[in-house]
């Protein structure tokens, strides 16, 4: 009878210890649970405003003494038109540099000096929606790389008509 009593008490103690351990486990599990990323909204807005501003930016494409200011959007449109020329070097230029090279250089530089410095990666893609052909190969990405296999936020598609090659669509992806 006494042995049984002692055993019952020990069982009681064990139950208490198990209950407290379970309680602590739940607490730890709750604290380690991933919180939803509240920065996703800001990142998405950043992607949109970055691409919108980039395409609106005015650049000086003067050459041969002729003053010529264009928006980067127009330089991109010229780049699209150059793609289908049999001799791309005979196409549109900006400050004596082929439009595609000029755009890739300036866009990459501006994005590296902002998004790159802020520790963000990006991918800038331009394609012809009908053929899915990319205008830039390789894509314009940051010095730290693109957004492969990462959770990324999109600026949304920015379609623009061009004079000779139809519509081209730009999109900027930003990730951490």
């Amino acid at each position: 009878m006494n042995n049984k009593k002692a055993q019952m008490e020990i069982i009681g103690l064990v139950v208490i210890v198990i209950l407290i351990s379970l309680g602590m486990l739940f607490l730890v599990q709750f604290s380690l649970k991933e919180k939803p990323d509240e920065k996703a909204f800001t990142r998405k807005g950043l992607a949109f405003s970055t691409l919108s501003t980039l395409l609106k930016t005015t650049v000086d494409c003067s050459e041969n003494g002729e003053r010529r200011e264009l928006e980067l959007r127009e330089v991109l449109g010229d780049c699209g038109a150059n793609t289908f020329l049999s001799d791309p070097s005979s196409g549109e230029t900006c400050s004596r540099e082929p439009s595609c090279d000029y755009f890739a250089r300036v866009a990459g530089d501006l994005l590296d000096r902002t998004l790159g410095v802020w520790g963000k990666r990006y991918e800038f893609q331009v394609q012809f929606p009908r053929t899915k052909e990319e205008l830039f190969d390789p894509q314009i990405t940051g010095e730290a790389g693109g957004c492969e296999d990462k959770e990324r936020d999109s600026s949304g598609l920015f379609p623009q008509p061009t004079a000779s090659v139809g519509i081209i669509e730009s999109v900027l992806y930003v990730c951490e």
Partner: protein, 191 residues
């Protein structure tokens, strides 16, 4: 009834057993309670530590939220926003307005001898931005030019801050009539 000392049986321990049993039982109960309270104490210590780190995390979260809110307020300020014929443009500041804000220290109550109106203006913008630093950096298209321009719109850091949270955004800086510059908006909040 008289008892013979010779025939009286020696006292045995049987009369003390119930008391001993009770004492042992009491000791067991006290030991159990003691261990129980020790476990509760460990639980409380652990919970206190957890609450401490949770509180720190919450404070960081609130600071980030404040940084995002301040950024959004700046982006939609009519004192800076691009507007043409009462139509406003998103993610765009007018260069002339930015320069005016900087030259006249509009968000900091003006230059020169502070008047009551200046103090009101200072209080008004402080109620919007609190302790923060707001800068617009115009980037030149050609990095080699080194023609980047920086405009400090509001500079009110907390003197002994423990934490600061910078946030960044891209805005277009419009120079009349149709020239757009690529610019970054840096907002740092302090706590």
């Amino acid at each position: 009834m008289p008892v013979s000392l010779l025939t009286m049986a020696p006292p045995t321990n049987l009369s003390f057993v119930p008391q001993k049993k009770a004492q042992i039982h009491m000791t067991e109960t006290i030991a159990v309670l003691f261990i129980f309270f020790i476990l509760i104490l460990f639980g409380l210590i652990f919970y206190a530590q957890f609450q401490k780190s949770a509180f720190k995390e919450k404070a960081e979260e609130l600071l980030q939220k404040r940084a995002t809110e301040t950024m959004l307020k700046v982006l939609f300020l009519p004192e800076l926003a691009c507007s043409e014929r009462s139509l406003s443009e998103d993610n765009c500041f007018e260069l002339a307005k930015v320069q005016a804000v900087v030259d006249r220290k509009l968000f900091e109550g003006g230059t020169g001898v502070p008047t009551e109106i200046d103090q009101e203006k200072r209080d008004y913008y402080f109620s919007i931005f609190s302790y923060a630093t707001i800068k617009v950096q115009q980037l030149s298209v050609d990095a080699a030019d080194e023609n980047d321009e920086s405009y400090v719109l509001y500079d009110h850091p907390l003197l002994k801050f423990t934490k600061s949270e910078p946030t960044f955004f891209i805005v277009a800086l419009k120079e009349a009539p149709d020239t757009y510059h690529f610019a970054s908006l840096d907002v740092t909040v302090y706590s």
